[in-house]
Symmetry: D2
Amino acid sequence: MTDMLESRLSLIVRSTEIDINGHVNNAKYLEYLEWGREDWYEHAALPYDVLLALGVVTMTVNVNLNYRKEARQNDVLTVITRPERVGNTSFTVKQSIVREQDQAQIADGTVTLVTVDAIKRTSTPVPEVLRRLFMS
Amino acid sequence: MTDMLESRLSLIVRSTEIDINGHVNNAKYLEYLEWGREDWYEHAALPYDVLLALGVVTMTVNVNLNYRKEARQNDVLTVITRPERVGNTSFTVKQSIVREQDQAQIADGTVTLVTVDAIKRTSTPVPEVLRRLFMS
Amino acid sequence: MTDMLESRLSLIVRSTEIDINGHVNNAKYLEYLEWGREDWYEHAALPYDVLLALGVVTMTVNVNLNYRKEARQNDVLTVITRPERVGNTSFTVKQSIVREQDQAQIADGTVTLVTVDAIKRTSTPVPEVLRRLFMS
Amino acid sequence: MTDMLESRLSLIVRSTEIDINGHVNNAKYLEYLEWGREDWYEHAALPYDVLLALGVVTMTVNVNLNYRKEARQNDVLTVITRPERVGNTSFTVKQSIVREQDQAQIADGTVTLVTVDAIKRTSTPVPEVLRRLFMS
């Protein structure tokens, strides 16, 4: 389990990500999670172009996200992404957001994606290079 | 049940909401859902200022969202928001996004919010004016 | 002059477009302007796909924008776009944002774009179908 | 001149900042510039809260921005902000965005702001602590 690929992306909360309540808007976290998944794909040497060359794009089909604490401007956050499970044409990653200064859990949840044929736009088996990231 | 307050917000997908895949980015849907909830609060005559005058703000604690179909620039979407259940200090609304031209279900899910004391920033009972929206 | 193509796009200011100051963030106006230009291209029957079929994409090279008044959540705004001048490989549109309820001028300015060869990514003459929009 | 306060903010272009053309959307640059100005205020020990305690907020009244080159996902950009001139109730900063890998100028321009009474929302003289940043 522990040797599964995990990625950690560090980011700083910017002014335009803050809403009228003075904290990061709930929608913005989904962007942070997407940045985290991009980082995870890159650590796996499977960025967008490599998957596309295999005829595959990934599409989000479910997000289940818990918001634990408010984050504020200039907070330094780490987005942690790790594989959870893989099926025939879908896979799930676990993601969490931790604030560096106090190690507070800001948010955590799971994101499920399907692999889709880049031309036909229909679901297609998870490529082997991606599937093996889920094997310990 | 049917006499519970439901709101329907119509929106048009704009160019800056489209990502490199040519469809609405997954994070953008959470903004659409927030716009739908604002519309729902307004239909209930409980906009931000009214709740704030009661000493309360609402905070999102969970989003569980299914993405069903891709949406594209100029699609006309309806965000439907209706009450699902209410607890002591939290409540859940059911939201779905339907494309007007073909009535396709684009996304659906639930959003859970807590009511928070606007000063102390700790959870506080759901005000009666909000709670009664969940009673049929 | 008066018979030049002008487009008017109506939009409603949404909660996630408001910043900590309680008004529309200055960056968001550039999205509004882009939506207005898309509307203008569509009224001219020259949307993205049509220009791309001519081998051309347009790229913004300058924005000069004055912010006149604050806009707030639920304000109904009209983005007015009209042609200003055309050169060999560039053109300028004049855009303004007016609030419907009081006809207040919220912002106004000019946006200059170049026409670029979609493959080579180098500037290319403004296609005749686009150029004639600037002739009265 | 050279001893005027200049700030340099480094950022990485993220996936959700890329539009259908595969490059950073023109509106996003205004967010980058705002992040740069926040960084400049902080380097001057004049963040939002300090100015607010002086009864002042700043509001953007003009942006004049040239887009020079396309930026793409994962590009590392530096936003450089430096004072240009100060008037009675307004001031102008010069900002540019440079790509670290090839030192290409991505964008440059000026942003003019007014100082506004935080309560009355009318223009008010630039506070001395802010004005002296423009003196060499």
